[in-house]
Homo-oligomer: 169 residues x 2
Amino acid sequence: LVLISVTGETLESNFLHHKKEKLTHFRVYWHDIVTGQDSSSVSIMNPPKKYTGATGFGLMRMIDNPLTLTPKLSSKMVGRAQGFYAGTSKEEIGLLMAMNFAILDGKYNGSTITVLGRNSVFDKVREMPVIGGSGLFRFARGYVQASTHEFNLKTGNAIVEYNCYLLHY
Amino acid sequence: LVLISVTGETLESNFLHHKKEKLTHFRVYWHDIVTGQDSSSVSIMNPPKKYTGATGFGLMRMIDNPLTLTPKLSSKMVGRAQGFYAGTSKEEIGLLMAMNFAILDGKYNGSTITVLGRNSVFDKVREMPVIGGSGLFRFARGYVQASTHEFNLKTGNAIVEYNCYLLHY
C-alpha cells in the first residue's frame, strides 16, 4: 500500500450482508457522589456570575461515577461512567450528558457505550441516545432510560437507574 | 408551505432500499503538540484544586492537531483533528475524546468524521466509536483504533496512529 494520499481502501463492499443486529438490554446504577473525600463528580465550571437562576445553567461537572449492580453503592461495581455533564437549561434543571460507560465486569467487560443526550432530571424517565460503542458494542446504536432511584438533599448525592438498550451485531 | 408546527416531511419512504454500506479503512498520524511556539493542543481547564491525583481528572485541552500521512510531523498533512479531550478517570490517565477529523487531502477531501469515545492512553490499542460523518461520510458509523507511536516524556508531545474504519454508503 504506497501512501501518496489518504486514499482509503474498501475492505468490504457489502459489509452488512447477512449480518443481523440484536437488541441487548442491561441495567446499572449510576452514582453521582458530589460530597465527601472520594467524590466521583467534581465541578469544573460554575454558571456565569450574571446568571443567578437556580437551574445551574452554565455549570459543568466532570464525572468518573461508579456503575453498580444494585442501587447500593457497596454492591458489585460493574463499570464506570466517565465524562461530563453540563447545565443547559434556563427554565429547569436540564442537563446535557456526555459520558462513556466502560463496562468492567461480565460478558461485556472491556466494551464501552457512549451516551450523548438531554437529561431533564426531574422527569420520571429520561431517554437519551447511545451514539456508539466499542468492543462487543462496536457499531452500536441505542438508547438509555434514566430514572432517579434516590436523591439526597443534604449531600446532593444521587443514585440513578440506567436501563440500556443496544442494537449491535 | 404554511408552517403551523414543525411537522417534518417525508423525503423518501424507503431511503435505504438498494443501498449497500461499504467498509472503508484509512490510517493517519495524530500529533498532540503541547509545547513550543506552534502548539496545537492547549489547556483550557485545569483539574480542580482539591483534586491532587496524578491522572489529570478534570483537565480539558482544546486541540487542532495535524493529521499526517506518516508518523513524521513533516510528512504530508492530510487533515486536522479539531475538538477537545478531557481527563475523566480518577484511577488512570483516561480521556474522553470529542473531535472531528477534517480530511483535507485525496478522495475524501472536504469530508469529516466525528469521534467521541474513551481513550485509556496506556492501553496498547484503544477503540473509540465514530458517531457520524459528513460529505462522503454522511450517515457513517464506525470505529477508530488508536495506538501510541511515540510519547516524548520531556516535551509531553505525542504521535498516535489512528486506524479508521467507516461504514458508509
